[in-house]
């Protein structure tokens, strides 16, 4: 658009001219141009210059038949009307010039005459301006009238300007402006009407004139801003113009076309501008489409096709720029089908980028056409040469030859051949590529910002092709690479093919063998639409250097790579050949899971097992597949693992590799040939040396001696589809024959640790007893492994779960655990003595770490764990031995572990019970016991100053015999004085052995000497140990303490004592006394009753009442005769104290007597058993 | 008459397919059989939607697609619509068919159950009957999933049959 002349680009402005009084010109022209719409002023300083306005003299014989016009539009016509043909001329005179001196008046008159004659023949309007110095200066009427008459103008066209007065000046200037506006409008209307009349009368001899008139009418309409009329005539003009192409014969065909298109371009530009400025975007685009459509097929002869494409491209460029400058947006309010239903406009047509892209496309078309033309023309008529001094003619779109002969200069028309070679030589001077690139870049950036990735890619590709054409291969390569990514991703194989074809050539030109090979291989492995047509090689320019995508070209490319690698250069390759020394070295290609080269070679590795022991053999499958069109012969296949010991090499035996090349571990296989789309499956045996992860990293295939393709190994289970090939409608085969392996095979395997050849033995001797220091020997026997930097971890866990061996509440309250690991003592084998292990690293209540000394194979080591149970709990003991086989650092990282666990029960060794007993057949009345209602009284009540019996029993509840060393009652410190506790019977020997579930009883007499409602008697203190022959020492004794409950001590008011013989004989009467002692200082009334017993007959009252004096005893006696033998219940006595309203009944055990059938004869020792009988 | 024959054929094919996959091909791996049957259903659903959506505008949201499944798609397949559609508006839809055609011929014989109740394995037999029935439902689940996937909605479909022949399909759209 910038190439267009100014007058075409901007809307025309009316032009007026002022003559004379040059000092006022600046202010007047400034005032006029600041008007809306502005007005241009052609200021002529004095009247002598007025001749400029004169028409160029035309020596045309008015009688001669109208000549056919030599062209459609003169180039300068528009400019002329904008700069040299004013619509109105104002002659300026100073008032004193015309009113005073007659000579001056005459001068003014002649000036006016001159001016009149100059503008004669045109419609130019005349205005006379009189300049007054001051408003007050009176001008004589006759002067103005005379002047008016001279000038032959209306009175209103004579304007008086007042120079000195600001307001008058403005006022008069405004008047002038309005006069000018009016006159201009009339002028342009008249002119327009004049020419329009010619059109309407069809008063013209040729089409050219018709077009010219249309153009003129439209321009005049534009002058007066009558846009619809302008549009109408432009459209008419362009319509006639289009029709002219076929009919006109004035110029040779090629030049005719050039002229028509030049005019069309101008008029079209005018129309587009008008429409866009009026905001009619949709109409403008529709119009543009129409314009394009009417000219797209008018290419002309093939030699000058480039002119057409250049012109065509310019149309798009200019329209794009117009759209861009008017900054249109796609009208949202419009329906999606802008325009008519069948001729919908689309989104992109509102985007400048769309036009830039097409402009670039057509400019490229021009480049192709130009290449074609220059090659053909140069050959055919090279003799003709380029005609000299060709220049644009006065008519738009025409060229002539300037012919100079001496002084005479003639303008000669050109023949088409001359014009063609001229145009060709002109066109060849320009390098189109960079312009095309610039256009594509503009479009690319714009599409990119619109988010149209594919459009942008297409533009980017266009740029790249131009760079390639211009020989800038590195830029081209970079752009092509970017575009190829999108095509790869979306699977557009054909487009990718074209792209890679360019890339391959770029790599060749840049002498990069590795890139060349990888691009070539990728191309060869592409899936191609079977339907794509057979290529004809002439059209290489359009298909890119790769030609059409066919199977055979794929094969050729593959073969070419092989040839290069094997050093067999095909003739056409040696031309631009790679340096041979490059080929001498091998080329490495790396293929990972995202590489586009995956279609060239993919390696799938699967272990047959899930896990394996170290150094035991295991099978691994390696499967390779290639999509290359021809079979690929692999010379050598290296499979690499993360444990390099496992790496192996497979060598094809067909290749005679020099022996030095072959590894020791290489396996020879008859043939390693990959056929297209077929899996090559190999199975090999590996022996992992170390435990831990074993992963196949890569498979390196050496192809054609110099190409090493390193494929990242993939697991069949997680193998992705092949890019591009996954859309092909072909059967997919599995990498391994075994379907399970194909779906779940992994390239990674966990090698297990070697079996530990060390044994850890936990010796447990039954359940542990609460309170004792339970020792648990742990022995480590090395059976085959040396133990280095061994470490024994001990962990105690609650067997019922719950982890820690204490409840959270207890953890807060105290530090004590229910089960505690107290220490570890080691028994060193040499000394045999027990000593504390000094290398205990850490001991906590439930966790410990002990280091184990280095052991040679066959050695053993043991230690003892000391654990103490505070409560009966079942505990899991976990012992794990971690060690390494070597003492060196790196091997130390690799540790073996042996785990053992054992559940140990913690048991309470003894249950302790106690029982208070009153003296035999003696019953004190304990009021507290009677008053408190039954149940809630757990406290035992003891009578004051009475010797109560306390029986303490300890039952062995373990399954092992225990020794009881001591049983004692330790009174509280303050209770010692107040209550005497004496042991009546105790352990006679050093200890008493208690068999499982055996009970030991100790008897104590308790004689309280103080009245107390809650008296602490003290603690039962037991000392026990396991009854084992080993543990003789007293240290092993465990003291077990249990607090006796508090007792209630009170004085009893009445004590009932029954007296009867120790035994009685059937049928023999005996006396039974009941003594009631009143220990109070009060008179006590008692009631007394005796219930009949069927085993006895007795004499005496059943019921009785008595008063007992203080501190005296009342005795009630009965005579009884036993009627049955055996242990018999005496008649039941109930003594009731009236004062305390408390009844006292001796317990039935106290009221029993044994009846012998006859007089027994037994030794006195046996009588001892009587108390025992009472207890049970 | 002809229709009934065709319907019986479909019933027969469905049952035979389930029997073949569960009983013969993957007898030891029931979950693999289920996957295979579901995959067959997936392809069937995938291809059927191509046909059944041919003459209709594109669906603008998930609900519209689900409604299509409930109404038109179901009518094409079973000559009836889904009886009840529920959704939590967060990508889960429950399609309930009170009379699911492929389950109308299925029954769990209560007499057989009661006889077996005397022996100790009544629960296992009841389970296996339920398992067989649920195997029948992998195919329609796959159909629904295939149809929705083809409509651009990635989802998972499970079936739930509490009382025959009613059946509900739960569609969970993956986000």
């Amino acid at each position: 658009m910038e190439d267009y002349p100014e007058e075409l680009r901007t809307p025309p402005l009316t032009l007026v001219s002022i003559v004379g009084c040059s000092e006022l010109h600046p202010s007047i022209s400034a005032a006029l141009s600041s008007q809306q719409p502005p007005m241009n002023t052609l200021a002529l300083p004095d009247f002598s210059k007025a001749s400029i306005l004169a028409r160029s003299a035309k020596t045309r014989d008015p009688l001669a038949p109208p000549q056919a016009p030599a062209g459609i539009l003169k180039k300068d016509w528009l400019l002329k009307h904008r700069t040299r043909v004013p619509a109105a001329v104002a002659a300026m005179f100073r008032a004193d010039q015309v009113s005073g001196d007659p000579a001056q008046w005459l001068q003014a008159c002649s000036d006016l005459e001159n001016l009149k004659s100059v503008i004669q023949g045109r419609n130019t309007k005349l205005v006379v301006i009189l300049v007054q110095a001051q408003a007050g200066d009176e001008l004589s009427e006759d002067v103005t009238v005379a002047l008016r008459k001279r000038a032959e103008i209306d009175s209103k066209h004579l304007v008086v300007l007042v120079e000195r007065d600001e307001s008058e000046w403005t006022k008069s200037l405004n008047k002038l402006k309005s006069i000018f506006t009016e006159l201009c409008s009339t002028y342009y209307k008249d002119e327009g009407r004049r020419i329009k009349a010619r059109i309407e009368k069809r008063n013209f001899s040729s089409v050219e004139l018709s077009i010219r008139y249309c153009f003129k009418v439209a321009v005049y309409a534009e002058f007066r801003r009558d846009w619809p009329e302008a549009l109408k005539f432009y459209e008419e003009g362009i319509r006639v113009l289009r029709e002219m192409i076929g009919t006109s014969t004035r110029l040779p065909p090629t030049q005719r076309l050039v002229e028509v298109k030049a005019i069309a371009e101008q008029i079209h530009f005018k129309i587009s501008t008008l429409l866009l400025h009026a905001g009619k975007v949709v109409e403008a685009i529709t119009w543009f489409r129409k314009h394009i459509r009417s000219y797209e097929r008018v290419v002309g002869s093939p030699e000058v096709a480039f002119l057409h494409w250049e012109w065509f491209s310019r149309q798009f460029l200019v329209f794009g720029e117009l759209i861009e400058t008017t900054s249109t947006t796609v009208p949202d309010t419009l329906s999606p089908r802008f325009g008519t239903a069948d001729n919908a406009l689309t989104e992109w047509e509102f985007q400048p980028a769309y036009y830039y892209q097409l402009a670039a496309n057509y400019l490229r078309e021009k480049r192709y056409a130009l290449e074609f033309s220059s090659s053909s023309v140069n050959i055919t008529d090279g003799v003709n040469g380029i005609p000299e001094s060709v220049m644009p003619s006065v008519y738009v779109g025409q060229y002539v030859r300037l012919f100079e002969q001496g002084d005479t200069v003639a303008v000669l028309p050109l023949s088409d051949t001359e014009y063609t070679s001229y145009a060709l030589s002109e066109a060849e001077r320009f390098q189109d590529s960079y312009e095309i690139i610039a256009l594509f870049r503009k479009a690319y950036e714009s599409f990119q910002s619109l988010g149209a990735m594919r459009m942008a890619s297409a533009c980017s590709g266009g740029m790249a092709i131009e760079y390639y054409a211009a020989g800038d291969f590195s830029n081209a390569k970079q752009l092509f690479d970017g575009v190829a990514g999108l095509y790869r991703q979306e699977g557009w194989a054909t487009l990718l093919w074209e792209n890679l074809g360019y890339l391959r050539e770029c790599a060749r030109k840049l002498n990069s063998l590795k890139d060349f090979i990888s691009y070539s291989l990728e191309m060869a492995a592409l899936p191609l639409f079977s339907g794509s047509g057979q290529g004809n090689s002439e059209n290489k320019s359009k298909n890119g250097p790769a030609g059409s995508p066919t199977i055979s070209s794929r094969e050729n490319i593959h073969q070419e790579v092989v040839n290069i690698l094997e050093g067999k250069h095909a003739p056409e390759i040696t031309d631009d050949g790679f340096n041979l020394h490059l080929v001498e070295e091998s080329t490495h290609l790396d293929i990972d899971q995202i590489s586009p080269l995956r279609i060239v070679l993919v390696a799938c590795v699967a272990f047959h097992d899930q896990s394996v022991k170290p150094s035991s053999p295991m099978l691994v499958s390696v499967s390779l597949q290639s999509h290359l069109p021809s079979p690929v012969t692999i010379d050598k296949l290296e499979v690499q693992f993360n444990q390099s010991d496992c790496n192996f090499v497979i060598v094809s035996s067909q290749e005679d590799y020099s022996t030095s090349n072959v590894h020791d571990g290489a396996v020879q296989v008859t043939s390693l040939t990959l056929f297209t789309d077929k899996w090559m499956r190999l199975t090999h045996e590996v022996k992992p040396g170390q435990s831990g992860k074993l992963e196949c990293l890569a498979v390196k295939a050496t192809i054609s001696k110099h190409l090493v393709v390193c494929c990242q190994a993939e697991s069949p289970a997680s193998m992705e589809d092949f890019p591009l090939w996954k859309f092909e409608d072909q059967l997919e085969t599995l990498p391994t024959k075994d379907t399970v392996l194909a779906f779940s095979g992994q390239k990674l395997i966990q090698v297990e640790e070697p079996d530990a050849q060390v044994d850890v033995v936990l010796n447990c001797t039954g359940p542990a007893l609460v309170g004792e220091l339970f020792t648990l020997p742990v022995a480590i026997f090395s059976k085959g492994h040396a133990v280095h930097s061994g470490e024994l971890k001990i962990n105690l866990v609650d067997a019922k779960g719950g982890g820690l061996l204490m409840s959270p509440r207890e953890a807060e309250e105290s530090e004590s655990h229910h089960v505690e690991l107290l220490g570890v003592s080691a028994l060193t084998t040499e000394k045999g003595s027990k000593e504390e292990v000094d290398n205990i690293k850490k001991i906590q209540q439930s966790f410990g770490v002990v280091s184990v000394p280095t052991l040679c194979a066959g050695d053993s080591w043991s230690c003892k764990l000391e654990i103490k149970w505070h409560q009966a709990k079942s505990v899991m003991l976990y012992v794990s031995l971690g060690y390494s086989l070597e003492s060196i650092e790196e091997a130390a990282l690799h540790r073996l572990n042996v785990h053992r666990s054992l559940q140990i029960e913690g048991k309470i060794p003894m249950t302790v019970g106690h029982q208070f007993l009153r003296p035999f057949r003696r019953e004190p009345l304990l009021l507290s016991k009677i008053r408190s209602s039954s149940g809630d009284d757990k406290k035992s009540s003891l009578a004051l100053n009475d010797s109560n019996m306390l029986i303490v029993s300890a039952r062995n509840c373990t399954e092992v015999p225990l020794r009881l060393h001591k049983m004692a009652i330790e009174p509280d410190v303050d209770g010692k004085q107040l209550c005497s506790v004496q042991q009546i019977s105790g352990i006679s020997n050093e200890y008493a052995v208690l068999a499982p579930s055996e009970e030991y009883k100790g008897i104590f007499s308790v004689n309280p000497q103080i009245i107390s409602s809650n008296f602490r008697l003290g603690e039962i203190c037991l000392s026990w140990s396991r009854d084992s022959s080993l543990g003789q020492s007293q240290d092993n004794c465990v003291i077990m303490k249990e607090r006796l409950p508090e007792v209630h001590i009170e004085e009893s008011p009445l004590v009932v004592t029954m007296e009867c013989p120790p035994y009685v004989i059937l049928g023999i009467p005996f006396t039974f006394h009941v003594k009631i002692y009143n220990s109070t200082s009060l008179l006590q009334e008692i009631k007394y009753s005796l219930v009949d017993s069927q085993n006895f007959v007795f004499s005496g009252a059943h019921n009785h009442a008595a008063f007992i004096l203080p501190k005296t005893e009342h005795i009630v006696s009965h005579k009884l005769v036993p009627l049955g033998s055996g242990s018999q219940q005496l008649p039941r006595i109930t003594v009731t104290s009236v004062r305390y309203s408390a009844a006292l009944t001796p317990p039935s055990s106290a009221a029993t007597v044994f009846v012998y059938p006859s007089e027994p004869k037994f030794s006195s020792e046996k009588g001892y058993s009587a108390p025992d009988a009472c207890i049970s | 008459m002809g229709r009934e024959v065709a319907e019986s054929c479909v019933d027969g094919v469905v049952m035979e397919m389930v029997a073949a996959y569960c009983g013969r091909f993957y007898a030891s791996k029931p979950e693999l059989a289920a996957r295979r049957i579901e995959a067959i259903g997936f392809q069937v659903g995938h291809q059927l939607t191509e046909r059944y959506t041919m003459e209709r505008p594109r669906f603008s949201d998930h609900l519209e697609a689900i409604k299509f499944i409930c109404k038109d798609f179901w009518s094409e397949l079973f000559k009836k619509q889904i009886d009840n559609l529920k959704t939590n508006h967060r990508g889960t839809f429950v399609l309930q068919d009170n009379h699911f055609r492929w389950l109308t011929r299925v029954s769990i014989d209560p007499s057989v159950e009661s006889i077996d109740a005397n022996e100790n394995d009544s629960t296992s037999l009841g389970d296996s009957a339920a398992q067989t029935t649920s195997m029948l439902l992998y195919f329609p689940c796959g159909i629904i999933r295939g149809a929705l996937t083809n409509l651009g909605i990635a989802c998972s479909v499970t079936a739930d049959m509490s009382n025959l022949p009613a059946c509900s399909f739960v569609v969970r759209i993956k986000t």
């Binding site: 489409r289 797209e296 949202d332 419009l334 329906s335 999606p336 069948d342 001729n343 919908a344 689309t346 989104e347 992109w348 047509e349 097409l358 496309n361 057509y362 599409f447 149209a452 990735m453 594919r454 297409a458 590709g461 979306e490 699977g491 557009w492 194989a493 054909t494 487009l495 639409f529 079977s530 339907g531 794509s532 047509g533 290529g535 004809n536 059209n539 359009k542 298909n543 890119g544 059409s548 996954k726 859309f727 092909e728 409608d729 | 392809q43 995938h46 291809q47 939607t49 191509e50 046909r51 959506t53 041919m54 209709r56 505008p57 594109r58 669906f59 603008s60 083809n150 409509l151 651009g152």
Partner: protein
């Protein structure tokens, strides 16, 4: 004349592309079809402008480029059909009709149980049917 028809899958990958020109511009047509996917994306993602024809499968003229006009169609199953024609005046109704027939052919092709969803359409009978549809379109509009 229809110069090219294409089926594009939902990953924007070509599933079927057939050109019907003597001239060797197959590659160019690939470009044209590929670029038209941008327009489809735009139409589908910003449907506000498509209010009258909301969610219609027929997308209308996608864009004119050089001497081609590109028409688009998007099925409910997100398969894109693209038709490239050199005809200057194409009635929307004709294009619509063309796509309807094409869709039917497509459905028949992909309903083949041996066709794996998502793969290229290699069916020969589909190609034959498409050729017929293309021919009938060309004759229909020129007549």
């Amino acid at each position: 004349m229809v110069v090219c028809v294409a089926v594009v899958g939902h990953q924007n990958n070509p599933l079927y592309l057939q050109s019907f020109t003597e001239a060797d511009d197959a590659l160019k047509l690939h470009h044209v079809v590929h670029c038209s996917l941008d327009v489809i994306d735009e139409r589908v993602n910003n449907p506000k402008r498509n209010s009258p024809a909301l969610n219609e499968t027929f997308l209308g003229l996608l864009y004119p480029t050089e001497n081609y006009k590109v028409y688009g169609y998007l099925t409910n199953t997100k398969a894109k059909f693209i038709m490239v024609t050199t005809d200057l005046d194409v009635k929307d109704a004709d294009a619509r009709n063309f796509f309807r027939k094409f869709h039917a052919a497509y459905v028949d092709a992909v309903s083949n149980p041996f066709h794996v969803p998502g793969k290229k359409i290699a069916s020969r009978s589909f190609s034959a049917r498409v050729s017929t549809i293309v021919r009938s379109f060309s004759s229909g509009t020129t007549a």
